[in-house]
C-alpha cells in the first residue's frame, strides 16, 4: 500500500490505474478466491451431471435417453413448454402494451401483481391448482361431472408452468417499452397506419430482441420447473412425467446413469440458454432494456 500512495502523491500525472487498483498479490488472491468459489459451487455440479451420466459409457447413456418413458418425458416437456411459453408471450406483450403505452390509476399495483408469482414458492404454485381443481377442490366435482381432468394430467402441468413462468416476458418488455416511449407509434398513427399495422411494423421490430430474451428465460424455466409440476403431476410414467420429474423417478429407482442422462439434457438446455442469452446481451445489449448491465 505505501508504495501506491507515494506514487499517487509524488508523480504529477496521476497514475490512475495503480491508485484505483490493488497490489498484484491482492488481485491474484481475489481472482483466485472468486474463481475457486465459482468452480466449486457452479462448475463442479455441472461437471458432475455429465460425468455421472457418462460413467457407464456412451451406450448406456444413449439407451437411457431413447428408452420409451424418457422419450415420453421429453415429448411432454416440449408440449408443456409449447403451450405455456406462447401463452405467457401473448400475455407479456398485452400487459406491457397497456402498462408502457398508457397511464392509468393502479398501474403500480398491476405491476406488483404481475411480479407476484416470482415471490411465491413453487410448491404453493402447484398447491393452489390442487385446491382449485383437485377432486376435493372448489371446482373438483363440477369438473369430474364434466369429464374434464386437470390435476394429474397435462392441463394441470401447463397451468402450474404458466404460473411459475408468468412474469418473465412481461418483466422484460415493460421497462423496454417504457424506455422507448410512444413517439414512433404516435407518428405512425398520425401518418394513417392502423393500430395493428403500427403494432406489427413499429412496435414489434423495436422490441424483438427483448421479446426473444424474455421468451428464452421463460422457456428455460418452463422446461426445467420441478416443484410446481411435482405437486400437480400424478407421476405416471410415460404420461404425466416431465423431464425434471422423470429425473427424480429414475433417481429413486437406483437408475443413476439414466437419471443423470436425462438431467444432462436439461443441463445442455441450460447451457444453450446461457449461450444465446450472452450472445443477445453482447450483440443487442442496447436494444434490450437499458436497465440491464
Amino acid at each position: 500500500m505505501p508504495a501506491d500512495t507515494v506514487t499517487g502523491t509524488s508523480v504529477p500525472m496521476p497514475p490512475v490505474r495503480s491508485a484505483l487498483s490493488e497490489p498484484g498479490w491482492v488481485r491474484i488472491l481475489l481472482i483466485g478466491g472468486a474463481l475457486l468459489f465459482l468452480a466449486l459451487f457452479l462448475l463442479l455440479p455441472l461437471v458432475a451431471v455429465f460425468a455421472e451420466a457418462l460413467h457407464r459409457g456412451f451406450d448406456a447413456y444413449w439407451t437411457a435417453l431413447t428408452e420409451p418413458d424418457a422419450v415420453a418425458a421429453i415429448e411432454l416437456t416440449l408440449i408443456v413448454a409449447a403451450i405455456s411459453v406462447p401463452a405467457n408471450l401473448l400475455f407479456g406483450v398485452a400487459a406491457s402494451w397497456c402498462v408502457a403505452k398508457f397511464d392509468f390509476r393502479g398501474k403500480n399495483l398491476l405491476i406488483t401483481l404481475i411480479d407476484l408469482p416470482f415471490s411465491v414458492s413453487p410448491v404453493i404454485s402447484g398447491l393452489i391448482y390442487v385446491l382449485l381443481f383437485g377432486l376435493n377442490g372448489l371446482f373438483g366435482t363440477y369438473l369430474r361431472d364434466m369429464g374434464i381432468q386437470i390435476i394429474f394430467a397435462v392441463p394441470g402441468l401447463v397451468l402450474a408452468t404458466i404460473f411459475v413462468t408468468f412474469p418473465f416476458v412481461a418483466r422484460e418488455l415493460i421497462p423496454l417499452m417504457q424506455e422507448q416511449g410512444s413517439d414512433e407509434e404516435e407518428a405512425a398513427l398520425v401518418l394513417g397506419a392502423s393500430g395493428w399495422q403500427t403494432f406489427w411494423r413499429v412496435t414489434i421490430p423495436n422490441i424483438k430482441w427483448g421479446l426473444l430474451y424474455g421468451v428464452l428465460l421463460c422457456n428455460a424455466r418452463a422446461m426445467g420447473e420441478f416443484g410446481a409440476v411435482s405437486v400437480v403431476s400424478g407421476h405416471i410414467r410415460g404420461e404425466t412425467n416431465t423431464m425434471p420429474l422423470h429425473v427424480e423417478i429414475l433417481y429413486n429407482e437406483y437408475n443413476f446413469v439414466a437419471a443423470f442422462a436425462v438431467a444432462s439434457l436439461l443441463a445442455m438446455l441450460a447451457l444453450v440458454t446461457l449461450v444465446v442469452k450472452t450472445a443477445l446481451e453482447w450483440r443487442f445489449g442496447d436494444e434490450l432494456a437499458a436497465t440491464r448491465h
Partner: protein, 299 residues
C-alpha cells in the same frame, strides 16, 4: 430474473412519476389504440392464472378460522420448519453477499483470461433446472461423493442430508441474485472519488470502506434480500440434499408437500398462506430497499 428484477425497478420509477401526474383521471388520454383490449386481456389472464388460484389458497385456510389457522401454523413442527427455512436461507444469503460481492468485484475491476465465460457462467443457477442442481449437489456432497468423501474422511464433516447441505443448495441458487444486482452499480461507480481519496493519501482499504462499500451497500442488501427470498421458497434443489428430518432438515415447502401427502389440505393451505404472507412482506421490504437505492443513486 435479476435482469427482470432491475427492470421492475425502472418500471416502478417511471410509473411512480406518471401516476402522480394523472391522478384526476382513471387514464390519461392517448392516441394509441388497444388500451381496453390489452388491459382487459391482462386482467383476465392475471385473474385466472394468479389471483383466483391464490384466492382459493386463502379461502381454504380461512376455513380453519383464525384460531384454527393459528394453531396449524404454530405447531412445533411448523415453527421448526420456519426456523430451518429462514435460518438456512439467511446463512446462504450471507454467504452469497460475501462471495457474490467478491465475484462481482473481480468481474468488474480485474481482467483475466476467460472472464467473459465466467461472467456468463454466473447465471447458470437461473438456467439450470432445480432438480438437476439437486441431484448433482447431492451426488457431490454425499459421504461417497467427490467433495463429500474427502470432507468426511479429513474432517468428519457431513454435508449432504444435514442443514449444511441445504445451505449449500440455497447458496447455489441464490448466488446470481447478488452478483447481478451489485455488478451494474459497481460498474457505474465514478472513479473520481476513489482517485481523490487516493491522492489525499487514503489507503485502498480506507477507500474501500469509506467510498466503495457505502455506494454499493444498497445493491448488496437488495441482492441479499432477493437471494434470501428465493431460498425460503426453494424446493427442487433442496429436497434431494435435505435429510427431511422434522425439526432439523425439514424445510417449509417440503412440509407443505408432506401435509398434502397426509390428506391435511387445510394444514397445507395454512402453511402456504403463512409463507405467502411472509413473501408479501419481503416483497414490500424489497420495494422499499429499491426505492432507497434509487434515492441514494440519484443523490
Amino acid at each position: 430474473m435479476v435482469a427482470a428484477g432491475s427492470g421492475a425497478v425502472a418500471a416502478g420509477r417511471e410509473s411512480a412519476v406518471t401516476v402522480r401526474a394523472s391522478l384526476p383521471l382513471f387514464r390519461k388520454p392517448s392516441v394509441l389504440p388497444g388500451f381496453g383490449l390489452t388491459l382487459g386481456f391482462t386482467l383476465s389472464y392475471l385473474g385466472f392464472i394468479v389471483l383466483l388460484p391464490l384466492a382459493a389458497l386463502i379461502l381454504k385456510s380461512s376455513g380453519l378460522g383464525w384460531s384454527g389457522f393459528w394453531a396449524a401454523v404454530t405447531t412445533p413442527r411448523v415453527l421448526a420448519a420456519f426456523q430451518v427455512s429462514f435460518g438456512l436461507s439467511l446463512a446462504a444469503a450471507l454467504t452469497n453477499a460475501i462471495f457474490g460481492f467478491l465475484v462481482a468485484w473481480v468481474l468488474v475491476r480485474y481482467d483475466f483470461p476467460g472472464k467473459r465465460l465466467v461472467d456468463a457462467l454466473v447465471d447458470l443457477p437461473f438456467a439450470l433446472p432445480t432438480a438437476v442442481a439437486g441431484i448433482a449437489l447431492s451426488a457431490l456432497y454425499a459421504p461417497n461423493g467427490w467433495i463429500g468423501r474427502p470432507l468426511d474422511e479429513l474432517f468428519g464433516l457431513k454435508v449432504a442430508f444435514t442443514p449444511l447441505g441445504i445451505a449449500i443448495a440455497l447458496t447455489f441458487i441464490g448466488l446470481p441474485f447478488v452478483v447481478r444486482t451489485v455488478q451494474p452499480i459497481l460498474q457505474d461507480l465514478p472513479p473520481e472519488e476513489e482517485e481523490a481519496a487516493a491522492s489525499l493519501g487514503a489507503s485502498r482499504l480506507q477507500a474501500f470502506s469509506g467510498i466503495i462499500l457505502p455506494a454499493i451497500l444498497p445493491a448488496l442488501v437488495t441482492g441479499f434480500a432477493l437471494s434470501f427470498a428465493r431460498g425460503v421458497g426453494e424446493y427442487g434443489s433442496v429436497i434431494f440434499i435435505a435429510g427431511n428430518m422434522p425439526g432439523l432438515t425439514e424445510i417449509l415447502p417440503l412440509l407443505i408437500v408432506i401435509k398434502l401427502e397426509q390428506y391435511d389440505y387445510a394444514g397445507a393451505a395454512a402453511v402456504g398462506t403463512a409463507m405467502l404472507g411472509v413473501s408479501f412482506v419481503m416483497l414490500l421490504i424489497l420495494n422499499l430497499l429499491q426505492q432507497w437505492m434509487r434515492s441514494r443513486h440519484a443523490r
